[in-house]
């Protein structure tokens, strides 16, 4: 009986220790996670104002601008619907490039410029971070819906929806030969 009690005590202590450790670990985890947001979500004010989060999308072509100190760069990140300007001080990863997917981590700075502390490098050029891929898909789908609603809404936009014969100039501009 005595050995059994000892063993139970041992197991009990072990379980209690594991429980406390798990509780602490999960508590700490909450303070250490960074959510992912797309430029559209950021502009819709879904992202936190004063916390670190990740912003991802495509780097807009010809948007990369090096600042006077030589180490700070600005570039635009887009999900093909909205665009956010990002500032990063430091050396960009090798496979960073305009027109390619990127994930940055940081917080929103003054003037709507996202200040990145970290720019994620890719391993393979055909690889797209899954978050960025989803973002582009969502934005693309929303874009299609938006266009579709414009097309099928002649009342709201009669000039584009129904080309009336008394406005020949518009039709010509719309339909390229």
């Amino acid at each position: 009986m005595k050995a059994r009690q000892k063993r139970m005590m041992f197991i009990g202590l072990g379980l209690a220790g594991v429980g406390v450790a798990a509780w602490l670990a999960i508590g700490a985890l909450r303070g250490n996670i960074a959510y992912f947001f797309s430029p559209s979500q950021v502009l819709a004010k879904e992202a936190p104002e004063n916390a670190v989060y990740r912003l991802g999308g495509l780097v807009v072509k010809n948007s990369l601008a090096r600042q006077a100190d030589g180490l700070t760069v600005h570039f635009d990140v887009t999900d093909n619907a909205e665009t956010v300007k990002v500032s990063y001080t430091g050396i960009l990863p090798d496979l960073f490039g305009e027109g390619q997917g990127v994930v940055t981590k940081g917080r929103m700075g003054p003037g709507g410029v996202f200040v990145a502390e970290e720019v994620l490098a890719k391993h393979d050029e055909s690889y797209m971070p899954p978050e960025v891929q989803d973002t582009l898909k969502t934005a693309h789908a929303e874009g299609i819906v938006k266009m579709a609603s414009q097309d099928t809404n002649p009342a709201g936009n009669p000039a584009l929806g129904n080309a009336s014969p008394d406005q020949p100039g518009r039709v010509a501009a719309g339909d390229k030969p």
Binding site: A3, K6, F10, G14, G17, V18, A21, A22, L24, A25, I26, A28, L29, N32, I33, A34, Y35, F36, V52, R54, R66, D69, G70, L71, T89, G90, I91, L92, D94, L95, V103, K105, L120, A121, K122, H123, D124, E125, S126, Y127, M128, P129, P130, E131, D134
Partner: protein, 662 residues
Amino acid sequence: MIPELGHFALILALGLALIQASVPLAGSYSGNRNWMNMARPLAWGQFIFAGIAFALLLQAFLTDDFSVVYVASNSNTLMPTLYKVSAVWGAHEGSLLLWATFLAAWGAAVATLSRNLPLQVVARVLAVMGMVGIGFLLFMLLTSNPFDRIFPMPLEGRDLNPLLQDFGLAVHPPLLYMGYVGFSVAFAFAIAALLGGKLDASWARWSRPWTTTAWIFLTLGIALGSWWAYYELGWGGWWFWDPVENASFMPWLAGTALMHSLAVTEKRGAFKSWTVLLAITAFSLSLLGTFLVRSGVLTSVHAFATDPARGAFILLFLCLVIGGSLALYAWRAPAVSGGGRFDLLSRESLLLSNNLLLTLLTAFILLGTLAPLIYEAMGWGKISVGFPWFNTMFVAVTPFLALLMGIGPWTRWKQDDVGRLGRALWVPFVVAGLAFLLTVVFMPLLGDGWFLVPIGIGLAVWLLASHVLVVRDRLRHKTSPGAFFSDLAGNGRSFYGMVLAHLGVAMFIVGATMVSNFGQEKDVRMSPGDAQEVAGYRFVFQGVRNERGPNYIAARGHFQVFEGDRQIAELWPEKRNYFASQKPMTEASIDWGFTRDLYVSLGEPLDGGDWALRLYYKPYVRWIWLGAVLMALGGLLAITDRRYRLARKAATLPAGATAIRS
């Protein structure tokens, strides 16, 4: 025609694996010796055909056969031969082939080195390995055939990812895979034991050297990967808590726990069902690692472009392996539990604590790695878990592990008393306390790390002192000066292996503590002729010149490093541009040192010959990898122990004698 032969060889290997998984197993139940005897030749056959497939793919690379898609996407005529060889496992399909070949090789090794095992056990172990083989061969043939052709055939290949054109990465995957796959042997032994319902000391003795061997490979593979990341990625870091790194670290932790738990099962017959569970866990975590890497579900610097069918296949395979083995465990484990009793203070207890802590750490890392998937599945948003969290968890658990590691080797099996341990351990304790105080006084550090450095150094000294004394204690009755060597030649190898591996941990602790708290990093803009000071070293930039390599053109920088007035090093960092892939690639230049590394990597060219650069000072960073090498050497020493050689000799005795001995 040759690639088709490779494809055919894979199909034959699969056919043999199917027979290997079924016939010997059926024979082990019906007692049909002929069926059981088929296991060994079948394992060899599977290895030969997998080996042929591998050799043919290698041949396709060496002859630049770009009609094979895999070769065309990962090779190039200009590539040096070494990288043509390593390109075989440079991407998904080939690394799977390497994996399957290694699995078959482990099977063949078990078939060859198992003369002392009862035929029934051999048949079951090899059947389980055959099942695992089926999974991987089927995966390859259904979703990722490395021999697929392309038409029209391209004239030139797309080149191997420049990051992988490096010696470290040529060797890292094979070592890592040997480790991953090696745990399949421990797994197969565990499953065979569950099938037979007989888990005893001899089972643990058979499993031990196999487990340790796999662990050695995994240790070296992880260390090499970390070293590669350090010098090749140009970020100067040695561990990023990236999902793929975690995927290799979790099986390592579980495997380390397994090695220790096997020791108890062999010596005392205790922890049997726990040991089996760990063997299942270690291998399942290896498979989970494959799933994470190959399915692309997590954002990682290692993630490759993937195909959802592959992810789904591995997930299914994972569920079959984990679900099946746990179901078998739940069904059979109650029958095999029990074992020697032990006191609260005993070697068993300490090893149990070791296992608890290692499992806890594994669980934490698993939680952090899978948290993004859990959040997404629950619809809580897309998250990533920060680097600091993993560091905190690691630093919270390892000091306890190190503390107990200093006590463990001193304790006796079954029961021990506090007074005896106190008399043995007060010296190392005082020495470690002194080291702690000296560190506080002489290496003051402000900020978060101020208490971490003394703890790290104190624990490393504690481990060193405790293990030096335990060696002295072992040799105390042996007066001749050659006692150590005769002990090493005799029964002492596994003991000295343990000591060496534990000292490797101490060395790792020193390296990790020093580089994390005293390392310095500077991102700067420099013009030719400029000088910058980092940690008392003056880096003078001499400009950049263009140079041509075999399949790239490089901007090559030149630095002189001065300590005081004396020039101590010249560094030549490069920024390469590979012709075929048009990818830029940073090659850092490092001045190696036992107590510090000086590290320069080129960023981007700015106007007027200026460059954006990174300068690093990395104190004791080598100790991290040297520690891992010591651990691996310790493992090597342990598997050459005389006990296992004797076990092999015992095979010549009749089967009845073996049973009595165990």
